[in-house]
Amino acid sequence: MEHWLYIFNIAGHNISVNLDTIFTMWFAMLFLIIVAFISTRNLSFVPNKMQTVSEAVMKFFYGTLDTMIEGKNREHIPLVASLFLFILTANLMGQLPLRLVHIREGELASPTNDINLTAAMAIIVLVYYVFMGIRAKGRKFFIHDFSFTGIVMALVEILEMFTRPLSLAIRLFANIFAGEILVSIALGAMAYFLPLPIMLFEILVAFIQATVFMMLTIAYVGSATGEEH
């Protein structure tokens, strides 16, 4: 899966940008922005169809946050909801026939098949939960007490700050990437028939991976701001 690399030069450093990922990412974002704009127009006490759907989606986030974080958890809604909706839209976009549009190199597919995008989202999650932990606990976020177990646990948690974003990024990327490879292999084995069940399975994977990313984000934020680690 090659990407359409665009290389430009800033102060002697070559910086490459994957143009196809940027295009599909903006497509997903534009879709979400338009849906959010339409569904928040003309809000009324008796909801119309669009408002019912968006209220059900918001209730899903409220319920998930309530089961996993105690106390004040509504402030995490913007990050959690936008991560879930963006990842879901991006994953489902991979099943659209966007590959029919020919670009110079690479292909238009799901933007989450690029590890740069998933790594950026994972780093955003890392920054967010470290910030929330410091705001909730101050110095005690890093070290609880100056005993032997306290210092060992602090070291383990610093190690987790590297492994958590790494596993988040690679999990999402590898699921979508493996799905695309699987579909292309099935296409080579028995065209038009064998890819269909695999593509249906990929729709399930899209939902599951968006949920997993959201659940893990909530779990990390909850463990960072909760009373005990």
């Binding site: 999990r171 590898a174 699921n175 990437f177 493996a178 490879i181 599951i208 991976q209 949920t211 997993v212």
Partner: protein, 76 residues
């Protein structure tokens, strides 16, 4: 045929094979847990299935880490 490329291809096969063993064990244990929970309390089936899907996706991801490594080796 012991050049670097064929060794990398061999390594890719070994990587995805052992990765699949771990993920298969993980999903098997998750299914066992689901079956135990559902047979003990059939009314929690819907809720338990959601947690099962989450756990299965998490353990499946381990095989996909191996897949990424294998693909990187194939690209050598």
């Amino acid at each position: 045929m012991t050049d670097l490329v064929s060794m990398a291809h061999l390594g890719a096969g070994i990587a995805i094979g052992f990765g699949a063993v771990g993920a298969g064990l993980g999903i098997g244990f998750a299914t066992k847990g689901l079956m135990d929970a559902v047979s003990r309390q059939p009314e929690v089936a819907g809720k338990a299935f959601g947690f099962f899907l989450l756990g299965a996706a998490l353990s499946e991801a381990c095989a996909l880490y191996a897949f990424v490594i294998a693909f990187m080796l194939l690209g050598k």
